[in-house]
Structures are given as structure tokens and as C-alpha cells.
Amino acid sequence: MPKDHGIGASNKRREDVRFLTGTGNYTDDINVNGQAYVYFLRSDVAHGRINKVDTSDAEAMPGVVRIFTGKDFEGVGGLPCGWLVTDKHGQPMQEPGHPVLAQGKVRHVGDPIAAVVADSLAQARDAAEAIVLDIEELPAVVNMKAALADGAPKVHDDLANNLCYDWGFVEENKGAVEDAFAKAAHVTTLELVNNRLIANPMEPRVAVGDFSRATGESTLYTTSQNPHVIRLLMGAFVLGIPEHKLRVIAPDVGGGFGTKIFHYAEEAFCTFAAKALNRAVKWTASRSEAFMSDAHGRDHVSKIELALDADNNFTALRTETYANMGAYLSTFAPSVPTWLHGTLMAGNYRTPLIYVNVKAVFTNTVPVDAYRGAGRPEATYQLERVIDKAARELGVDPVALRRQNFIQPDQFPYATPVAVEYDTGDYDATMDKLIEIADFSGFDKRLAESKARGKLRGLGVNCYIEACGIAPSNLVGQLGARAGLYESATVRVNATGGIVVMTGSHSHGQGHETTFPQVIAEMIGIDESMVEIVHGDTSNTPMGMGTYGSRSLAVGGSAMVRAAEKVINKAKKIAAHLLEASEADIELKDGQFSVAGTDKSVAWGDVTLAAYVPHNYPLENLEPGLEETAFYDPSNFTYPAGAYACEIEVDPDTGKVTIERFAAADDFGNVVNPMIVEGQVHGGLAQGIGQALLEGAVYDENGQLLTGSYMDYAMPRASDVPFYSVDHSCQTPCTHNPLGVKGCGEAGAIGSPPAVVNAVVDALQRAGKPVTHIDMPLSPARVWAAMNG
């Protein structure tokens, strides 16, 4: 029987009502009295030396308030990078500056050169066209390997070259890995590209800066997944504003997918300009602007080799990856191809020896940073593609080869050779469930039906594991993070028993306003309607690290549980006083405090009232009030895992691939709201299918973005995807957080691309085509070309 409230219930989302009636409050819906508008004049060349920016004509244009250029930011900090990677020689990465507005050079198409503030956006844009630019175009580097060649043009003149770092992991294992390859019975090698993606949340980025001369406080409204992180980075590193004079508000945010984690120039500019002009300044990105200013994702070029013994056991794995950083280091960019990628190369398997090499490269392209999955999809794609290729080379069943090498349930906790320790898992269980929900047994019949219609059919399978719920602060600190990764919550109980939870997590589609109250309701035994969630405003929530890396419930939810436990403990003390009983005998159930073994009880509301109207209250040893804050720093990542299957058809005449079926069996540990968890998986699957079949950011050799709008960047539409079969009934709860939850936000995007590509290769091989790999996106043109040699 499904539960109808509390943990495990598919409660309908309370936030839906405002979104369904047009009464949401997104950043672009916010207008501050008297605000001006900013238009950014952006570089239309990928690489150039700025000789002159002449704003004199533009300043005389109607409505212009002021025009800012890089010169105005010479005394201001640059955009900081939040992660320091140390290379294989123990040296720190090369870390270039990142000015708010370009200084000296422009380094990618879209690099902001000048900011025109005017009474209207149209006037600002009109004036921007009157700015006279003298920019000497320089040769651009776009291809990563070319960027590392001797004599390549340098993106940053003050760096030695375009190599950000050359990272070896684990460097000490390199020799042992090479020995294992030398002894292998079989080695499978695969070179592949993890295509550059653009996150494209449907809400483009917006920033509104405001300043109060009366209080000296700056306020930034912004489309962010983590307002406290923006406050810290922008306040401390860019503008020099202490936290108590800077308020950052991220109201309703229309999707993030990673690209709204980062601190962007436009946020710093609007905050800076509002103070300089004593007038609010608003910026709203057009979609075209988003394509060239939002951080992109993925963009790895990899070679992976898998060594097997004569019994098909994996004995070693070796990878070499070139990871594109773009022109500057975005906030968390260096961590993505390293700690979020190398640590997952063991996958679900017992491979004893692994060596990962990553060369991060600067190019004249938009900065690249985390996008849904962030490093883990790149690891999964390489690993699950090379295993599939190995199975085909060896003539063994791809599922059997995987099962044979799975980490077994009795091996947990399992320390991998790439520095992480999986707490729980049961990979055969999710594979069994997958085989059931994907109806493997009906495949042959469906294959025959496809054949009768002149279509090729294929079935692709893969597993995935991810590390999410990031993470222990002391561990990430050792790995180079310049931030902690805890989460916070304040549970404020009001006198009449209602509860407000102020969380440092941020909801931009994940449904925290619905799920977080389910947890509190379960703990206290009250109705969810008595609990309200507040998030997204640094002035009324405790310092939080925000939402990314599938961490909200595992870390933010755990902080809330800890704070609620403190509240309950105190409430029990009050109840004990009211009931004239020992605190140790007080039990809380269904919103009633009772004395064990008696019929004496007092209601939740009586206790909360006593806390704030402490007439009959143990004031001598207990403070009035009922409000507690907790900070939760996890002791490990969580490790969701699963098995995915994709069935596709290929039209042999055109190369067009259609997704016929997609099944996902996930282990997310305990689940608070199954409806929302399924929705998260659905969305991830569509993004993964999009990466596999449709999406890809493409630059030409001069650094011009050829996919600069939805006319050329193919977004998945409703007709590109099927109804999915998803299951989360295999549950091995996380052992180290109080809810036993793992995290479900990124799984779909991590696990799905290899299933799609494996399925297409399967279909082509069944049709007798000697195709072993096609790089994503598997567009009709690419598939047709592969089929026709």
C-alpha cells in the first residue's frame, strides 16, 4: 500500500499551483523602481587584442546612463576559480585571471567588452552599436590537441602555454597498470568524444543589482542554484563587499542543470554598477546571449583501454583525456574532469588497477564547467562503451561480461583503486530488475517486427555508478576545493506549532517545498501543511552551499533532520516538564508527546505554545523558544547506481535513429517522494538521449559558434523520446546519512548516453555493418555515413 503522507508518499507538489497559474516569481519578473538596463557588447571574434574601445559617440545616445569598460574594473577582482588541481608533478594548475569585462584581449566569442547602462534595454543596445571598437584579430585555438602544439597561439599571454594541468591519477599506480596491460590476454581500445553541450535551462540567466544608500547594502537578484556561494565569491573575491552588506536572492529559478552554479560576470557587473550609479541595474539574457555566455559542459576527447585476462576478468583500465576548459576557468571547472571523473572510472566493477590521465586545455571558446552529471557521465560513457566493445570483440554477452566483473554485495564497503569507498550497492539486483522492466525476453519478436518494416533494431545496455551528495569538506579540501561542502538548515517552530524550515539548499525544479516537509511531518507526526520551506535568500537562510551534484536531500535534508532532532529533543524536555515526567520516558508519535507506559500525553501544539508563552516552563534550566540550526557535513559521498537499457530503430535509408523503448532501474537508497524521483529520472534521461542523438555545440576553426541558437543546437522535443520505464525498488540505503538517501538528480543523464550508443552499434552490427563506434550526437547524417563507410 503506497503511503499517503510523510516519507515515501507521492505528495503532489505545492509549488505547482503558482507555476500553473502564472504567479511564479522568476528573476525577470522582478523590477526595482527606477531600474536601468544593461546591454553587454560582446566580442564577435574568438581571439583579439583590444587596441581601443571608443565610447564617446555612444555616451551621447538617448537614454544612456553610463558605459563601463574593462578599465572601470582595473581595481576590482576577477572572477575566482573555486578549485585548485595539482598536476602529476605536484605543481598547481595554471590559473589565468578572469576580468569582469575584458582587459587587453578578448578570448572567446561572447566575451563581454563593454556594458552599456541606459533607461531602456533598446536604448542600451542602440548605444552599444555606436561604440567604436579597434580589435586586432589574432589566430584562435579551438582544437585541444592543436592548442597544445609547440608555437600554438596562447589564449593567455602570461601563461607558459595552453595547458591548464596534466593530471595523473593515481600516478603511483601507473607502472602497475602498464604491467597489467603487458600481461593481458585481451586489450580493447576505444577513442571517443564526449560532445560539448549547452545546458539550456529554459529560463535564461537574469541579474538585477540594487543598492541602498540608506543602509549601504547591496542586493543581487539572480538566477542561481546557490545564492550563498555567489555572495561569498562575489563579495570576497570580486567586489570586496562583506557578507553582512550583501544580500543575494535567487527566487524561483527556471532550471539550472549546473550552469547556474557558477559566479558570472553579469552578476558582479549589476551589483557593482548599481552601487556606482545608485540605481538598480537589470540584465536579462536573450537565448542567443546564453549560448555564448553560459558555461558549456562536457567536451572531452578520450582514449580508453581495458585489459582482460583469459577468463574475461577486468585486470586493468587506462584512460587519457583532453578536457576543454574554454578561455577562462569557470567556478568549478578544474574539478570536473579530475575528481568528478577520475574517481568514478572503476564504475560498478572490480577492476583492480586503474590509471587516469587528464590534460585540461585552454581554448578560445566559452568556458566549460559542470553540466548535469559533471565528469561522471564522461567516465560512465567511456567505461560502458569500452566494455560493450570488449564483449563484442570477445563474442560474449555484454550483460554477462558486466555481471562477471560486478563488485559483489558482500564486498561493501568497497574501496576502489581510484580513491573512493562505495558504502552499499547491489548491481545484480538492478540488472535483474532492468531485464524484467525492459522486457528483454520480447526483444526478438520486436526485432522481427522492425525487420518486417525495413528497419534495423538494436538493444543497448549499460550500468552506471555516481558519487553524489557532495561531500565531506575535509576530503574535498584535500582535493583542492576552496570551499566547504556541508549544508545547513534552521528549523523554526512557531508558537502555534507551525514550522518554517530555512534551508541552504535551493530548489529550481526539484520540489524541495514538497519533499522537505514530508520528512519533518514524518519525524514529528504532523501534517505536511504545517511545514513551510524557505530557501534562496541569504538574508533569511543560514549559510548554505546550494543545490548541485544531487546533494539536496542527502546533505541539505540531513541538515534539516539534524536540526529537527535538536528541536524534538528540546520539545521533549518541555513536554517532560508539562507532564511532570522524566525526559527519558517521553515519546513522540503522531504529534503527541506521551509518557511511556501511561495514558498521559500532551499535544505538539501545547508544547510549542509553552515554548513561547513560558508561564509553566523550566526557565531555570531551559531557554524559551523552539528554533534550532544544524550544519551537516557528510562523511562520504553517496553512490547511486543502476542499469539502463535502450532499444532503438535505425532507418537504413536515412540513418535516422528513433528511441523505441528506454528502461532505467536505479538504486537511490530510500526514497521520500517516488513521483518526484521518477520525474528527476525522466528529465535526466531526456538530457542523456539528447546528448546521444541530438545535441552538440560546434565551433568552426576560427572559434565561431556554429550552434548559436535553437536553429542549429538540437534540443530534445516530445517527439524525440518515448514513455520511459523507470524503477527504483532496488534499494540499498546509504549507510552514513540519517535518511539513507542517495541522490537522483543526475542519474538519468549519466546512465543514458552509453545505452543509446550501444544500441545503435548493436543494430548496425546485427545488420552486418562493421561499425564499432560512432561519436555523439548520432545524427542521421553521422549514422548514415558510418553505415556507408
Binding site: 543546437y713 538540437a714 545524427s779 542521421p780 547524417a781
Partner: protein
């Protein structure tokens, strides 16, 4: 976009008068022109809306032809051109439902985007493009991508599509824009077959003469066996090479014949 004066005349004569002004431009449904203007790639001083001209609205059937008013939205053609099902289906497959409620037949033909659908219907049907001053045969109208026989200020008031015995349009969509990567319109008339191809050529919509000859002799997919269009001159971009487009022309033509 840059600002402009907006006028919305009620008659063709008033529209012609308004278009005689300096840097005046006609506005159909705006589904291409407005996005272009947002990018500031066009800067008319005056936009002359044609959507308020009652005489340019609607679909009728006379003398064996479907007559489509120049300002008729695609959705109206899709719903009312039942006498020419292939034309109705083509109109019902342009863009998406909201775009079809605004975009117009005349606007599409005046713009002559090399990937648009309507040029294939007009050329494949041997349509007559009727303007405020003259009638232009489709064979004389298309002059290369984004180029037509229209003079400055000339307005497409109606398009007359002769109804063939059989016809079909097959569109293979570009994955992002959903415009035609290759679209082929095949129409079989008593006196022969016309095959018009959109999306593929650097010269815009074109007639595939070899296919027309083969199909006029034998209207069957097999009649096309061995026929290919040269890849030379085909559009080559990130969505497909010229060779791929040339291949798709053959595939889509066969499918159109089979479905006609």
C-alpha cells in the same frame, strides 16, 4: 530590434501605397521576419502588415486549382485545402502549431528560404504566384535562395495551386530547426510529373528533371532506381554533407511517389 512605424492597411491598394515609402517592408505572419529583426539583421523604417487585408485571406477551389490568399496562415490552409490533400498536409507540417497560426503562404514564398516547405509545393505544383501587378509562373519565380522575381514593393496576393491527380510531400527534418534538411514534393498531372526539391541545394528550391522524366514514363518508386542528383552544389553544413543531402533527395522522392 530597431524601431519602426507600423501600419496595417485594409486593402491591397493601401498596402501598395504604404510599401512605396522609404525602406518600407511587408510583414506577413512575421515568423521569419521578426526573429531576423530581433537579431538586428533587418531595419525597415516602416512595417506594412498584410494580415488585415480581407481580400488576401482564405482558401478556395476554382478551375481545378486551390487558391490561397497571400496572407492566409498555414493552419487555415491545412484545414481548408482538402481538395489538394498533399498541399494541406504540407501546410500542416510547417514549423509548429503556433507558428502555423501566424505564418503565411505569401510570406513564405516571398522570403524563399532554401529550407522552407512552400517553395516545394509551389514549384512542384506548377503554381501561379499572383501579385498586385501580375501573375508569375512558379518556374519563373524562384531565383535562388532568398531571391525571387518579386519587385520592390510587390505583394503576393494569392497563390493558385493546380490540383494534380496524385501528389505527396516528404520532409526530412533538420534536427534542430525542424526545417527541411531535404523536402521533396512530387505531383503527377495528366501531362506529366513534377518533382520539386527544397532544403538541399545552394540555389534554393529546384526541379529534378531526370526524376520527372522517369516518373512521367512510369510513376513508381522503381522508376527512380539508379537516378541520383549530384552532390556538387548541395548545401553542406553541420547537419549533413552535400553527399548526404543528395542521397536523401533520392530517398525522399521514392517515398513521396510511394505515398502519393
Amino acid at each position: 530590434m530597431y524601431n519602426f512605424d507600423f501600419v496595417k492597411p485594409a486593402t491591397v491598394a493601401e498596402a501598395v501605397e504604404a510599401l512605396s515609402g522609404e525602406e518600407a517592408q511587408a510583414l506577413g505572419g512575421g515568423q521569419t521576419l521578426l526573429p531576423t529583426m530581433k537579431q538586428r539583421l533587418a531595419s525597415p523604417a516602416t512595417l506594412v502588415s498584410l494580415t488585415g487585408i480581407a481580400d488576401m485571406q482564405g482558401v478556395s477551389q476554382k478551375d481545378g486549382a486551390i487558391c490561397v490568399g497571400g496572407a492566409t496562415p498555414h493552419a487555415v490552409v491545412a484545414a481548408n485545402a482538402g481538395g489538394y490533400p498533399a498541399l494541406a498536409a504540407l501546410a500542416g507540417g510547417i514549423g509548429d502549431p503556433a507558428v502555423r497560426n501566424r505564418g503565411t503562404a505569401g510570406g513564405s514564398l516571398a522570403n524563399n528560404d532554401p529550407s522552407a516547405c512552400y517553395p516545394a509545393a509551389a514549384l512542384g505544383s506548377g503554381a501561379t504566384i499572383v501579385t498586385n501587378t501580375r501573375e508569375i509562373a512558379a518556374d519563373d519565380y524562384f531565383e535562388g535562395m532568398f531571391t525571387t522575381a518579386l519587385n520592390e514593393g510587390e505583394i503576393i496576393t494569392e497563390v493558385r495551386f493546380p490540383i494534380p491527380e496524385k501528389a505527396n510531400y516528404q520532409k526530412f527534418e533538420q534536427p534542430a530547426s525542424r526545417f527541411a534538411l531535404v523536402g521533396v514534393f512530387v505531383a503527377k498531372f495528366a501531362d506529366g510529373v513534377r518533382v520539386a526539391v527544397t532544403g538541399a541545394s545552394e540555389d534554393g528550391v529546384f526541379r529534378w528533371a531526370e526524376a520527372e522524366a522517369a516518373l512521367s514514363a512510369d510513376f513508381s518508386p522503381a522508376a527512380l532506381d539508379g537516378l541520383t542528383v549530384p552532390a556538387d552544389g548541395m548545401i553542406s553544413d553541420l547537419h549533413g554533407t552535400g553527399a548526404y543531402r543528395a542521397h536523401l533527395v533520392g530517398v525522399m522522392t521514392k517515398r513521396a511517389v510511394a505515398a502519393a
